[in-house]
Amino acid sequence: MELSVTDLACQRGGALVLQNLNFVIPSGRALILRGRNGAGKTTLLRTLAGLQPPSCGHIKVPPDSIIYSSHSDGVKDMLTVAENLMFWGNVFQKPYANAARQMNLDGLLSRPAHSLSAGQKRRLGLARLCISDRPIWLLDEPTISLDAASVALFEIMLRLHLQNGGMAIIATHVDCGVDDMILDLGPFRPVKQLLPDGFDEAFL
């Protein structure tokens, strides 16, 4: 199993932000995306996740293999931690107990999610990756607002995932402990920023 991207171009807000991207990620490897703010890291991840279509090029991935984790965790404040986990467990039809243990959420299970700190919420968000049991993780700034101990937990979870043949694409500014392959998005920025077919995104 591998994820391969050929000649990919992505757009954001009607402007082309990335073009001529080519990479292949084999099983068990992680790709770290680097680049300044606005370089297109999130856009690339969203495109790979299928939330927006690529402007051109091809993405080859096995079906139903991707789990995407955005800036926001999708945590429902009015539900308890266990109910949040259970919801994603039901959506992916997988048990959640193991994920809760890996992200050290066992002591928080009965707490309502609105009483969690930002870092605890992030851990709850990251536990979803583990629940999904999908092989390709697309992570957007996964370690944001995590303390050192939680970052370590995340690194362990990520390494375990990679050891089991999983893959990950991580957009981050900090060290994730698995600096495996690094892709700097700076050079893929198009010189001319107009779309080939004009600006009609607002109309469809």
Partner: protein, 218 residues
């Protein structure tokens, strides 16, 4: 998909908000109308079908923007869009959840409010039946409007403008069914139209809404 339904129901019950607000609004309309038009119970009786249907429709409208906006804001809509739950199923379940927390209680509350509005005794059966058949269409059409406007800041006005014209046939046939039933005329034609609107909406609109959501998530 059942997970989405149970989660939405839990959220609706816990955060109150739209759930109670719609019912309270319905109650207010039914209670204040007789006060506004004066004590003429024959006039009330004639107006009751229209007022009750209008009240149900407007209360339904109140909570529409919450269907997708809350999930959009906290990011769970994006995460659900990339999960194994098909978008069409998500929309259908969210519409169903919306109906259970607004349309269903409205239908059950309507007979009580019918008493306030001096609805003749023959009308209650038709009122409940017409609401039960018509309110699913309100939720489904509303979910479509909510899907179209989900990314917009303060899209509430646009949502109302989009959805209200689509509500008109449901309102006409709903009120007509109750009026006809109350005055002893056959109400089945209007009820069949209502049922057809609901069934058609259930069959087609989840696909349209899912498409609209996908575009708005880009």
């Amino acid at each position: 998909m059942i997970a989405v339904l149970t989660r939405d129901l839990k959220l609706a019950i816990r955060s109150g908000g739209g759930f109670g607000l719609g019912l309270a609004f319905f109650l207010l309309i039914a209670v204040l109308t007789p006060l506004a038009v004066g004590a003429q119970s024959d006039l009330h009786a004639r107006m009751a079908p229209g007022i009750l249907w209008l009240g149900a429709l407007l209360s339904c409208l109140l909570s529409l923007d919450r269907i997708f906006a809350l999930d959009y804001e906290d990011g769970s809509l994006e995460l659900l869009a990339t999960s194994p739950v098909p978008m069409e199923g998500l929309v259908a379940m969210k519409s169903l959840a919306h109906w259970i927390v607004t349309g269903l209680p409205l239908t059950l509350l309507a007979p009580v409010l019918g008493i306030i509005l001096a609805l003749p005794a023959e009308g209650y059966f038709w009122l409940v039946v017409s609401l039960a058949l018509g309110t699913p269409a309100l939720s489904l059409i509303g979910a479509f409007g909510a899907a179209l406007t989900v990314g917009l800041k303060r899209g509430g006005l646009l949502l109302s403008l989009l959805v209200l014209p689509l509500y008109v046939p449901t309102l006409i046939f709903g009120a007509e069914a109750v009026r006809a039933g109350t005055s002893g005329q056959p109400a089945t034609t209007a009820l069949m139209f209502l049922a057809a609107i609901s069934a058609g909406s259930a069959a087609l609109l989840p696909f349209a809404s899912a498409y609209a959501l996908r575009i708005n998530l880009r």
